[in-house]
């Protein structure tokens, strides 16, 4: 079992959660069931506890330069009500992590890494001259996601105008007399918020959101939701051996910023990536899994890095890597080798669910 405890652990147990160890934390994998929770987020509103995410705070005039070197986004362009997705790279352009960075003030920042990479990201920032403080127990992080998330939020925080925030903007918010943060961010493809709730009032706030109509949702549903959107998950689509261009994350690179790994990444861009990520949607019944091989006309062309059942499409979906000379194209048909069975699949361009719903946001 993990050593770090979310302030909502007792609540999860009371709600009947199945817990799983995740990056040193005991977190809810599921409550009622992954499919029901997934559908609640797509159809109404779900509430996730993602307190295991890292919370690295930087202050002082040297912080901006350090972050500009450590992160691939344009840190200097962020206003103090903005947040941005970014990658943290090695000198060789491998991915140390993917993070969200919040500019909290002129000289105040918060970097949110994956739980298992907090130490590595802190080290990368320190190597760039920054002094990150690990504030892991200061906040609970709640993700309120789904087409009804604005209505649920407004029921609990009547006076707040956070529903007017554009995507990737944040604001301070009074939470039971304590100052928290609410941001228009998420990892599900639905509209919603992520709330940084001071630990002292975390349970109270979570309970109020549940009482106002949010369905508790676990990390199992978080994974199927992000997979339907084709979002990268560290340890699957990206890791130290993967560069952002093969992972399809070129959009997260601010090329004229002086980030670590830039020289190596420029070379990769010039030569073109050696492999690329692609999407498969099953036409046979079955579930693709990480590690399964993808073949075309009997020849192995790739390997799955994320696969599961899509509750929305009611079929299996997967993200896989293939060498560039064997890369299947949208419209191609392939087979997935699933424990001795061959499952037919179509190559599709992620996201697997189309962005034609008004509530869907990236």
């Amino acid at each position: 079992m993990g050593q770090r405890k979310t302030p909502l652990l007792d609540l999860h147990v009371e709600l009947g959660a199945k817990l799983t160890e995740f990056g040193g934390w005991d977190m809810p994998l599921q409550y009622e069931g992954i499919i029901a929770e997934h559908n609640a987020v797509r159809g109404s509103c779900g509430l996730f506890d993602v307190s295991h995410l890292g919370k690295l705070r930087l202050t002082g005039p040297a912080a901006q330069d350090a972050l500009q070197q450590a992160l691939t986004c344009d840190v200097s362009a962020l206003g103090s009500d903005q947040a941005s997705y970014a990658l943290v790279l090695t000198d060789g352009a491998g991915c140390i992590d993917d993070v969200f960075v919040y500019r909290l003030g002129d000289d105040e920042w918060m970097v949110v890494p994956n739980a298992s990479n907090v130490a590595a990201v802190a080290q990368a920032i320190a190597e760039a001259g920054g002094q990150p403080a690990d504030e892991w127990d200061r906040y609970a992080i709640l993700a309120l996601q789904g087409p009804d998330s604005f209505a649920v939020f407004t029921k609990v925080f009547h006076g707040s105008d956070a529903t007017a925030l554009p995507l990737h903007r944040w604001t301070y918010l009074d939470m039971s007399g304590h100052q928290g943060i609410v941001a228009r961010t998420g990892y599900t493809g639905e509209r919603g918020f992520e709330l940084y709730v001071p630990s002292e009032v975390a349970r109270e706030v979570a309970q109020a959101l549940l009482d106002s109509g949010a369905t508790p949702a676990g990390l199992g549903a978080r994974d199927t939701l992000r997979l339907e959107m084709g979002y990268a998950l560290y340890g699957h689509e990206i890791d130290l051996e993967t560069n952002p261009l093969e992972a399809g994350l070129g959009w997260a690179i601010k090329w004229d910023a002086p980030f670590r790994g830039r020289d190596a990444l420029l070379k990769i861009r010039e030569q073109g990536p050696k492999r690329k990520l692609f999407g498969c949607k099953l036409t046979d019944r079955g579930v693709p899994r990480q590690g399964y091989e993808v073949s075309r006309d009997g020849e192995t062309v790739g390997t799955i890095v994320s696969g599961n059942y899509s509750p929305t499409l009611r079929t299996g979906i997967a993200l896989a890597y293939a060498p560039i000379d064997k890369l299947p194209r949208p419209g191609d048909q392939v087979e997935i080798q699933a424990r001795g069975r061959l499952l037919s699949a179509d190559i599709v361009k992620p996201p697997f669910i189309r962005d034609d719903r008004s509530s869907t946001e990236k």
């Binding site: 199945k18 199992g220 199927t224 579930v287």
Partner: protein, 130 residues
Amino acid sequence: MPSEVPNDRRYTKEHEWAQERDGRIVVGITHFAQDQLGDVVFVGLPEAGTEVQAGQPMGEVESTKSVSDVYSPVNGTIIERNAEVESNPELINNDPYGSGWLVSIDGDVAALEGLMSAQEYATATEQEQP
């Protein structure tokens, strides 16, 4: 989680149940097994006529979390697979001891006596609870 283990059938350590009905052996997975798996989304079952062997994999059950082999509790030949559960795998979650049955086998009914009783199975799974 407290769950009744029906005492009208026998159990394997791999979490299948087996029950004699009119000379056939009907097989499914237990409540404990479906609870560990989570939402079942796919079932792969052997066709009628397939020879199966006690303790050997004869099919698979997949959930949003993982994939698990289904082992035959006895030697025999598949008579029928549950077509209903193939198109509605959630029956395994909702009714593992009833409409969520998987296959029926023409096999060695006497061999059921060698499997675990409900009491023995309940004790075994208590020790396995995380």
